[in-house]
């Protein structure tokens, strides 16, 4: 079977080389049949990558330790779900996943847009093939998952931190995001190469960016949930370099999704938009490099490898190619439209872009500074949370404020008088909420107080946008008269706008949850003997004794706890440690008790079990933390609404380009 896997990878490499060469030649000489052949080569490369993936999955399922990859990452006792998830827990499997998802996404994108962007397709095939070529090359020559050895009796097992359900979903989700950003990059560069910079490339690029951005955002939150449960320090995001690696392209893609609207409505920011698309893609490659090269020490990075220089070289090639394409096509990209007023929707989008990109660049500097310092001065330094927290507040709070102001500012120009009138209610509600919180003692965290006040401001704006929009639509009378039909018609006809508002609401939920855990959590450390208790907030935790049992692949030790609120026993929970047999490693297994009504968690870490039967506990109350996870679901809901296909837009574009039957042959 490994031979089949290797042959499939070699076939994929050959097919991709052909797709690149044939695609570029088809673009240069206008060969339509050659383009179809090159496109088929990419489809076939997807099938070949699929075969290689099935071979690897089969080897994992059969515990085929004659494959070095399987022996390094799994063991006989590892539960089946984690055994199969080892597909993407190692470097070689991750690269294969990249190739599989990339060729799959490219196949879907090419098939769906065959008619819409016909003249751009040959270059798209060549460019997306160029990216796939890099990964196929690595898989065939540098990091093959099909290297064989004399099979050991058992494998080395999986890092205990990876043995968490969220780790099954988190990496594929991130990869779908990273890889998805290749598609808009390929279409954008192909539009430049073919000098077809009309609205079509924007439509295609926007859709794929939105999809990739959704996967990336949801993947980041799944990673945060994993860190919260598995790493066990009581937090959810620690500005770890690998976490930041996913956040940076997400921020740049967020900037693009806003600024692309300015291009669509006002034909402005064309150069800027291409720069953002290229930047998001380069950062997604950089993110993969950080995760996979092991160049930076991180709790999320499980690899030390030699592929780093290849990645850096490829990122440099992508950057150079993008710069050359943008500079040589500047005449086609220049816009004749100018901004009419600094108080307009387009200006608000511009400010939003500046803050988002500034935040992404600040994070980038924090990530690469230790590398630069070590390379230049030979001194190893680390950039800690205070640096990131400072800039997150400096750039993040104005962004939240803009989320509340931007939607009520008119395009072209707005008068201060209308703006004040529109913002009277949101400002009033925000001040009332801030006052109530201050009276309730929330002033202990000034950043938290400001965050909640701004959150109330944004949420009120969003609610009013829905209310005013529905009322206006009802008054037009096209909705059939009812409030519900007016509301559904409003959303259906403006999916991106109202889906975007739902995403804004998700960001507010995230903010409220993050401020809750960051500004208002309380904790206590205590060494307890059986029968003793400790009090944190409203909770009293009683340690009733410890227990041990043998799990599927680990010895599990647990501290058993009774939880009281006042005098009422509200439940029991366990916290402890797992000692893994094959891996010979120990992991913390935290106890989490969620109160859905309050949105808070009682979070318990059993730090140490003593010989006298006592236990060292770290008990934390995390208020509103569950709003962070709820934000993830609301975020996906809003994204789905925003990316739902718009039949009217399709019809409009089809009508506009229907005359391309009048294409002249050169």
């Amino acid at each position: 079977m490994p031979e089949l896997g290797r042959a499939a990878l070699v076939a994929a490499l050959g097919l991709i080389v052909y797709a690149v060469v044939a695609g570029a030649y088809a673009a240069w000489r206008g060969r339509r049949r050659l383009l179809d052949s090159a496109t088929n080569a990419l489809f076939a490369a997807f099938a070949a990558a699929g075969v290689a993936s099935l071979v690897l999955l089969a080897a994992l399922a059969r515990n085929d330790f004659s494959l070095d990859y399987v022996a390094r990452l799994t063991s006989r006792e590892l539960p089946t779900g984690y055994t199969l998830a080892a597909f993407w827990s190692g470097q070689e499997g991750s690269l294969l996943l990249w190739l599989l998802v990339l060729t799959g996404a490219a196949s879907v994108a090419l098939a769906l847009n065959r008619r819409l962007v016909r003249e751009v397709l040959p270059w798209t095939v060549a460019i997306v093939g160029g990216v796939a070529l890099f990964f196929a090359f690595l898989l065939v020559f540098i990091a093959s998952p099909f290297d064989t050895q004399v099979a050991p009796a058992d494998g080395a097992g999986m890092n205990p931190s990876l043995q968490n359900p969220y780790m099954i979903a988190h990496p594929p989700m991130l990869y779908l995001g990273y890889v998805g950003l290749t598609i808009p990059f390929a279409f954008a560069m192909a539009a430049l190469a073919s000098r077809r910079v009309d609205e079509r490339w924007i439509v295609v690029t926007r859709r794929w960016t939105l999809a990739a951005w959704t996967f990336l955002g949801f993947g980041i939150l799944l990673g945060a949930k994993w860190a919260y449960e598995e790493v066990g320090w009581g937090g959810w995001y620690a500005w770890d370099p690998v976490e930041n690696a996913a956040l940076m392209p997400w921020l740049v893609a967020t900037a693009f999704l806003h600024s692309v609207m300015v291009q669509e409505k006002k034909d402005m920011l064309r150069v800027w938009n291409v720069v953002l698309v290229a930047g998001a893609f380069a950062l997604s490659l950089f993110g993969t490099f950080l995760t996979r090269s092991g160049v930076i020490s991180s709790i999320h990075s499980f690899t030390q490898s030699s592929i780093g220089p290849f990645f850096l070289g490829f990122i440099a090639v992508v950057a150079a190619f993008s710069i050359v394409m943008i500079v040589t096509r500047l005449p086609q990209l220049r816009s004749k439209t100018r901004m009419e007023s600094l108080l307009s929707r387009e200006a608000a989008f511009l400010y939003n872009n500046l803050f988002l990109v500034a935040l992404a660049l600040t994070i980038l500097w924090g990530v690469i500074y230790p590398l630069v310092s070590e390379a230049v001065r030979g001194v190893a330094v680390s950039v800690g949370a205070p640096y990131y927290d400072f800039f997150a507040v400096v750039f993040g709070l104005p962004l939240v404020l803009l989320m509340g102001i931007g939607p009520v500012v008119a395009w072209r120009r707005a008068s201060l008088h209308s703006l004040v009138r529109q913002l009277a209610w949101p400002a009033g509600v925000a001040l009332a909420v801030g006052g109530l919180l201050l009276a309730g003692g929330a002033g202990s965290s000034p950043a938290g107080l400001i965050g909640y006040t701004l959150g109330a401001f944004v949420l009120t704006t969003i609610v009013l946008e829905f209310v005013r929009g529905t009322r206006a639509r009802k008054s037009i009378g096209t909705a059939g008269g009812g409030w519900w039909s007016a509301f559904s018609g409003l959303v259906a006809r403006n999916r991106r706008r109202y889906g975007g508002y739902v995403v804004h609401a998700a960001i507010v939920l995230l903010l409220v949850g993050a401020v809750g855990i960051g500004g208002f959590s309380s904790s206590r450390e205590a060494r307890l003997a059986p029968g003793e208790s400790t009090q944190v907030g409203d909770y009293r935790v009683v340690y009733t004794g410890s227990s041990q049992e043998r799990g599927a692949n680990a010895q599990e030790v647990r501290a058993n706890l009774d939880v009281y609120r006042g005098e009422e026993l509200v439940g029991t929970m366990q916290a402890g440690k797992n000692r893994y047999f094959a891996e010979e490693q120990t992991s913390n297994e935290v106890g989490i008790r969620t109160d859905w009504l309050r949105g808070e968690d009682l979070f318990v870490i059993a730090d140490r079990f003593y010989g006298d039967g006592s236990v060292q506990l770290d008990v934390i109350v995390n208020p509103l933390v569950n709003l962070i996870w709820l934000a993830g679901l609301v975020f996906v809901l809003g994204s789905v609404v925003a990316m739902w296909p718009d039949a009217r837009e399709q019809r409009r574009l089809a009508q506009r380009f229907a005359g391309e039957g009048a294409l002249a042959r050169a």
Binding site: E3, L4, A7, A8, A11, L15, Y18, W28, R29, G30, R31, R32, R33, L34, D36, S37, N40, A41, F43, A44, A47, A48, V51, R118, E119, D198, E199, E264, K265, K266, D267, V408, V409, A410, W411, R412, R413, A414, S415, H417, S418, R421, Q422, R468, G469, R471, A472, S475, I476, R652, Q655, R656, F657, G659, E660, A662, L663, A664, R665, A666
Partner: protein
């Protein structure tokens, strides 16, 4: 054996488009200048009409004051009218040809 079969299938699939007869003349496709002008005029028309619609809606929801509305609606209508005139100009030869044929 399986690998050889995979390779043959790939080769056939990739070569198939090259084996079919060309449906039309091959060559690099360039939009003719008239078509380019038409596409640009359509883009301007769609953008102006969408902006007018948005302005009406913003006016209704109170985002745009009466004064701003009056100042903004004129240039937008002119922009849309200009694009429609250009389109009419682009379409005229075709209509004239049709009129000649039927007349």
């Amino acid at each position: 054996m399986l690998a050889a079969l995979l390779t043959v299938l790939c080769v056939v699939f990739v070569a198939r488009p090259l084996l079919r007869p060309a449906r039309s003349a091959e060559g690099r496709e360039e939009l003719d200048p008239g078509e380019q002008l038409r596409v640009r005029a359509l883009e301007r028309r769609d953008r102006a009409l969408a902006a007018l619609k948005e302005l009406e809606f913003d006016h209704r929801t109170g985002k745009v004051s009466d004064e701003d509305y009056r100042a903004l609606v004129g240039p937008l209508r002119q922009e849309a009218a200009q694009a429609l005139r250009e389109l009419e100009h682009e379409d005229r030869p075709e209509r004239e040809v049709k009129a000649d044929v039927h007349g």
